[in-house]
C-alpha cells in the first residue's frame, strides 16, 4: 500500500518530454492521466489490467508505479461492478476514472450507466453529483478479435445526464480528457483503437483543456460539410484531399463531443455549404449520424442543396474477418462516393 509520503517521491519522478517531438494519441492520453493524478489527489484510476500491466493498450502504462496502488488499481473482472464502484466513489466526492477494457465489453455496465450514472444529479436535485469519467477503446480497423471493435457511442449518447466525448487526435485527446476529469458531471470518453498509434502529433506538454461540447473545423471548405468524429476524421480527411484534386472544397467538422452536440457549428457550416455528409463507423440504423441529420433537417432545410447523406457501418455486427473487415468500416472511397452524390444531386 502506498502512503501519502510516497506520493511526493512519485511526483518528482514524473517524466519530462521534448515538446517538439510528436507523440501518439495513446501517449497523450497517458500523459493526461498522469497529469490529472499529479494535480488532483481525488483522481483515481481503475479497471481491468490497468495497474501493473498498464492496460491492454498501455494507456495507463507506468501510472501505478508513479502514483501507487492506492491511486491506480486493478479491479475484479466485472464491468457492472467497475461502473458501480466508480459511481459510489463519485458519490463520496472522488473523481474516479474508470477504464472499460473495450467499448464492446461495457454492456454489462449498462444498468449502472442508464439507471444511475446519468440520473444521480437529477434524482437528488444536485445533492449528489458524479464527476466520473469512463474511458473505453472503440471501433475497428486494427483486426481485433470478434466483439472488440464495437462503436456503441449512440447507446451512451442516448442516456440523459451523460456527456460523450470522442477525440480524433493526440492534442485534442489530452485536452478533452483533462476537461472530462475536471467536469462535474459524468463523461464517457471513447478512444478510437485505430487512432491510438496511427498518427503522431505535437502535443502541448503542459496542462490545458479542450472545452467539452465544442466541435472543431478540421478543414475549411465551401462546397459541402463532412461531419465526423474519432477514427473517421482521418478517413474523411483523405476523401476531402482527393475531392480537392477534383476541385471540390469540403469542410470537415470534427465533432469531438457528440453529447452535447455542438449544433451551432454544424448548422453554420451546413448553411454555408448547403450539403452535408455524416460519417461514422457505427451501424447505420439509429446511429448518432441520424441525430445529426435530424438536427440539420429541422434547422437548416432551407439551406440544403442536396439530401443529407450518411456513410456508416452496416446493420450487422462488426465482422472480425481480416480479409473483409475493411468493407465494413467507411473508407475514403465510400466517403468520396457520398461526396459525389451530394455534389451531383
Amino acid at each position: 500500500m502506498t502512503a501519502v509520503g510516497d506520493k511526493k517521491q512519485t511526483l518528482a519522478a514524473a517524466p519530462q518530454r521534448d515538446a517538439s517531438k510528436p507523440i501518439t494519441m495513446v501517449a497523450a492520453i497517458n500523459e493526461a492521466l498522469d497529469m490529472a493524478l499529479t494535480r488532483d489527489p481525488d483522481v483515481y484510476i481503475f479497471g481491468e489490467d490497468v495497474g501493473v500491466m498498464g492496460g491492454v493498450f498501455r494507456a495507463t502504462d507506468g501510472l501505478q508505479a508513479r502514483h501507487g496502488v492506492e491511486r491506480v488499481f486493478d479491479t475484479p473482472l466485472a464491468e457492472a461492478g467497475i461502473m458501480g464502484l466508480g459511481i459510489g466513489m463519485g458519490l463520496a466526492g472522488l473523481k474516479p476514472v474508470a477504464e472499460m477494457q473495450f467499448a464492446g465489453f461495457l454492456y454489462p455496465a449498462l444498468d449502472q450507466i442508464m439507471s444511475h450514472l446519468g440520473r444521480y444529479r437529477h434524482r437528488t436535485r444536485s445533492r449528489f453529483t458524479l464527476p466520473v469519467v469512463v474511458r473505453a477503446p472503440y471501433g475497428g480497423g486494427v483486426h481485433t478479435p470478434e466483439q472488440h471493435a464495437d462503436s456503441p457511442e449512440a447507446v451512451i449518447a442516448h442516456v440523459p445526464g451523460v456527456k460523450v466525448v470522442i477525440p480524433s487526435n493526440p492534442q485534442d485527446a489530452k485536452g478533452l480528457l483533462l476537461a472530462a476529469i475536471a467536469d462535474p458531471d459524468p463523461v464517457f470518453f471513447f478512444e478510437s483503437i485505430k487512432m491510438y498509434r496511427s498518427l503522431k502529433a505535437e502535443v502541448d506538454p503542459g496542462y490545458y483543456t479542450v472545452p467539452i461540447g465544442q466541435a472543431r473545423i478540421h478543414r475549411a471548405g465551401d462546397d459541402l460539410t463532412i461531419i465526423c468524429y474519432g477514427g473517421m476524421v482521418e478517413v474523411c480527411d483523405r476523401a476531402a484531399e482527393a475531392a480537392a484534386g477534383a476541385g471540390i472544397s469540403a469542410e470537415i467538422i470534427d465533432l469531438r463531443t457528440i453529447s452535447p452536440l455542438d449544433t451551432a457549428t454544424v448548422l453554420e457550416s451546413v448553411r454555408k455549404t448547403g450539403r452535408a455528409v455524416i460519417v461514422t463507423e457505427a451501424p447505420r440504423t439509429a446511429g448518432f449520424h441520424s441525430e445529426v441529420a435530424a438536427v440539420i433537417a429541422e434547422e437548416a432545410i432551407d439551406s440544403l442543396l442536396a439530401p443529407v447523406v450518411r456513410v456508416t457501418g452496416f446493420d450487422a455486427p462488426y465482422p472480425p474477418f481480416t480479409a473483409i473487415e475493411d468493407s465494413y468500416r467507411p473508407t475514403p472511397t465510400r466517403v468520396a462516393k457520398a461526396i459525389r452524390r451530394v455534389m451531383e444531386y
Binding site: Y44, E70, F73, T75, P76, A78, A80, G81, I82, M83, G84, L85, G86, I87, G88, M89, G90, L91, A92, G93, L94, P96, P108, D111, Q112, S115, H116, R121, H122, R123, T124, R125, S126, R127, F128, T129, P160, G161, K163, P184, D185, G213, P260, L261, T263, A264
Partner: protein, 388 residues
Amino acid sequence: MSKTSTEVAASAGTLPAAQAAMAASVLQPAAEGQPEVPMLQFITPQGTLNAGEQPLPDVPLPDPETQLWLYRQMRRIRHFDERAWVLYRQGKMGVFPPYGGMEASQAGTAAALTTQDWLFPTYRDTGAALTYGLPIAQTVAYWRSSPHGWYMPEDLKITPFYIPIATQYPQAVGAALAERKRGTRNVAMAFIGDGGSSEGDFHEGLNFAGALNAPCVFILQNNGWAISVPTAAQTRARDLSRRAEGYGVPGLRVDGNDILAVYAVTKAAVERARGGEGPTLIETVTFRIKPHTVADDPTRYRTDEMTAGWDTKDPVLRLREYLLAQGTLTEEGEAAMLDEISAEFEEAVAAADALPDPTPAEIVDHVFAQPTPQLRAQRAEIMEEDSA
C-alpha cells in the same frame, strides 16, 4: 393493546391448484446437504430471553436503555408504514412498498450507523431510511412522487431509494472504498432482498468488497418473497448468508424479527468494518407479511397457510412483551411514546402538504451542473407550452 393492522395483514384467499403447489414450495424444509448457519436470537417470539447456546457468543445483548431506544425506533417506523396505507387510501400517497413486520430488520440495522456513514436503501427500506435520519416530511414527499422528496439532505449520506435491483451493492463498495482512501472510519451499508441476491450486481458487489477490503455492511433482508416468487422458487440455496462464503466474506444469520439480535450483529459488523477488517454480509431472516406494494393483491399468489405463524413472530410485540416483563417499558411510558410519535408524524405530513406543486420546467433541471444548449432550448419549449 389492540392488534395493529400489520399483525393481521396476512391475506385471505384461495389459489388455483398448480399455483398453490408451486407457491407451497416456500414451506419446504432446507435441501439435504445444505446446512443452515444458526441464527442469532436473543428474544424468542414469545418475548422471553433465549436461553439456548448462541452462534455468535461475542455479540452482546444490548443494554436496557438501548433496548428501549430500539423499541421506539420500531414503533416510529411502524407508525409511518401504517399511516402510509391510510394516506394511500385517501389519495394522499403514491404507490408505496410497505415494510410492516420487518421493522426489526430495518431499524435494527440502520440504528447501528451514524450519519457520517453511508446508507443505500432499496424501495422496501423506508423504515431504515427514517431510522437513519431521512426527514419524515421529505419521505412522504418522495412517496408522493414529488421532486421535494428528491432533494437529499446535504448533511446526510443517504442515497435515494434504489429501484433497479442490486445496483446499490457495487456502489456502496465505491463509497466505502472512498472513505477508506480518505482515511476515515466511516462505513457504507447497503440493503437487498432475497430476490435481489439473484442479481449479478449483488455478487459483483460482494466480490469487489472482499477483493478491495471495503468497509461495507451488506444487509440481505430475506423476507421470503420477491413480489410473487417465494425464496424456494428463487434459488435452490436455503441459506442466503452462505452466499458470502464464495467471496471470502463473512456471512452471518440473524433472526430478523428480533431487533436486539439484529442491532447487536450489525453493530459488530460495523465496528469490524471501521477497524479495517473488511465487509460482512448479514442475512436478516424475516417475512413480508404485507403485499409487495399497497397496490398489490397477494391473494393471487399465496395462501393464508403460507403466511401463518409470522403474525405471532411480530418484532414489535415480541420486544414489547420482553420490555414490559423486565420493567424497562411501562404502559404509561409507551402511551406517551406513541403520542410523541404520532405528533411528530402529523406535523411532518402537514409540512409535506404545504410543499408547493412542481412546475413542468423542473423536468429538465438538475441534469448537468450547467444546462446544455439542448436543455436550455427544451426548458424554453416546456415553459412556452406551460404558459399556453
